[in-house]
């Protein structure tokens, strides 16, 4: 297939060239022929019918020339309008390109922000997980309060017991000292009694 294309292409080119040049040669040739026939018509002696037919022929050639001129003018106008159209489209595309660029930059900023937010959220989650593992603060506070109360009660009891102990100690101390004193007094009395009997026996012996 591709070999055929290679051979056909020069044909196409030649055909196009012939068409284009043919048209141009046709127009030019027509004008030249017109001029030549006009001068010939003016200078030569034709019979009236021949002259008239030649005149008609020249009119047709002129009409053809005008027609082709009109056609080229229209084509020219069309080309100008097409150019304007394309310029407009081009400007439009330029504008949309710049706005797309701006949007891309915006989106990039957004993505950076979103990434930061995501990172913060993740860090928050991670810390929250760790915190959740620890017991609730209220619970711990309550437990602490209860323990405090217990501690107070126990120290109260301890104080009471200690006071009682002191009191008993003192009471026993008083008791013991009284007993000792009584013992002492009794001994003294006994001693005094024995002294008395000794003295009285000594008096009787004299």
């Amino acid at each position: 297939m591709c070999f055929l294309n290679v051979i056909c292409v020069p044909d196409e080119v030649i055909r196009k060239r012939l068409l284009i040049d043919g048209d141009g040669a046709g127009d030019d040739r027509r004008i030249n022929v017109l001029m030549k026939s006009f001068t010939k018509w003016c200078h030569s002696n034709f019979s009236p019918e021949e002259g008239f037919s030649q005149y008609q022929r020249m009119l047709t050639t002129l009409a053809q020339c005008e027609f082709s001129m009109g056609k080229t003018l229209l084509v020219y106008d069309m080309n100008l309008k097409e150019m304007e159209n394309y310029e407009a489209i081009y400007a439009d595309i330029e504008r949309s390109i710049t706005s797309a660029h701006e949007k891309i930059a915006e989106c990039k900023k957004e993505i950076q922000r979103a990434k930061r937010i995501r990172k913060n959220r993740q860090e928050y989650d991670a810390l929250a997980r760790v915190i959740k593992q620890h017991p609730d603060r209220h619970e711990t506070l309550k437990q602490l309060e209860a323990l405090d109360k217990e501690l107070q009660q126990l120290s109260h009891i301890k104080e009471n017991v200690e006071d009682k102990l002191e009191l008993r100690k003192k009471q026993f101390h008083v008791l013991l000292t009284t007993i000792q004193e009584l013992q002492q007094t009794l001994e003294n009395d006994e001693k005094m009694e024995s002294d008395d009997t000794q003295e009285s026996s000594m008096e009787n012996g004299d």
Binding site: Q122, D125, A126, R129, V130
Partner: protein, 321 residues
Amino acid sequence: MGPVELLHMSVFSQSFSPCGRFLAAGNNYGEIALFSLSAALSPDASEGSQKPILNFTAHDGPVFSLLSTDTHLLSAGNGEISAWSWAELIKKVSQLFSKCMTSLEIPEINAMIINPKDNSLIVGGGDNNIHIMDMETGIFKSVLKGHTDYIHCLCFKEREEEILSGGEDGAVRIWGHTEIPLSRFQTCSGMVGQECARPQFGKWISCLATDSDWMLCGGGPSLSLWHLRSMSPTSVFPLPGCQREAVFHQDLIMSVGEGPYVSHCLHGGTVKAQIPCTPSSLNTLALNLKNTEHRVMTVGGSSHQIDVFTNFSYRAFSLSF
């Protein structure tokens, strides 16, 4: 370079030039290759533009770490840090600018980062310590001791000027301005981090990345996202292999490691995508954010090819050594 050497080549480190038009990559033979991104990304790129424009031997041992400052390329391998001028490299002159033979005898330097505020270079390596060097004078200002095994990766928190380091001992340490670590946490012992631990791989941390309050760490344990203020792991990523490098990028987390793909993950813990690449396992990932025209991601690993991603969702082409 014969075919056998090409087969056994691994790319360990990458760095983009300050202008963003060139990529330097270091491999396990000690060579650094310079690729021109503008040539490789231009519309009339050919096979030749995917080859290095300059390839020179920088170190005796592998080049584990590459870092670019505004004017120089720093490369580090087994114990020495060399500086190359980018202007000279772009003109294809591989003349050494300066070399610091660290008298401290660091066996290997795995990670280097820069503190831009006081212009110091922070180096971590095989001697379990972090050394801070002043770039103006070249003397080592201080040493941060604390790790019990060698350091794999370093990371810098710009806002608070803190250094994060991760090592073979499985601990991530945060260092402030003093030499005592601000805090440390073991990622897989104790109650903290139990869900990340993967004992079948070990406890070593090979990648660290930070994004102000958040930190990524992975390696032996699964890649996990930690909230630094509360020191708690918030998400564990279900990636099968050990991750060697991870970065934060916009709302995604990108990580590379064992397995011929780049994983895109969300902060919530889901793996959004796994983009296949040519090397069978990847060691390094670099993002060129300095230059908007050549905004690419490049990954390198156990292959002589470096994959270039223009749209982060698929591999565009590969540069090869």
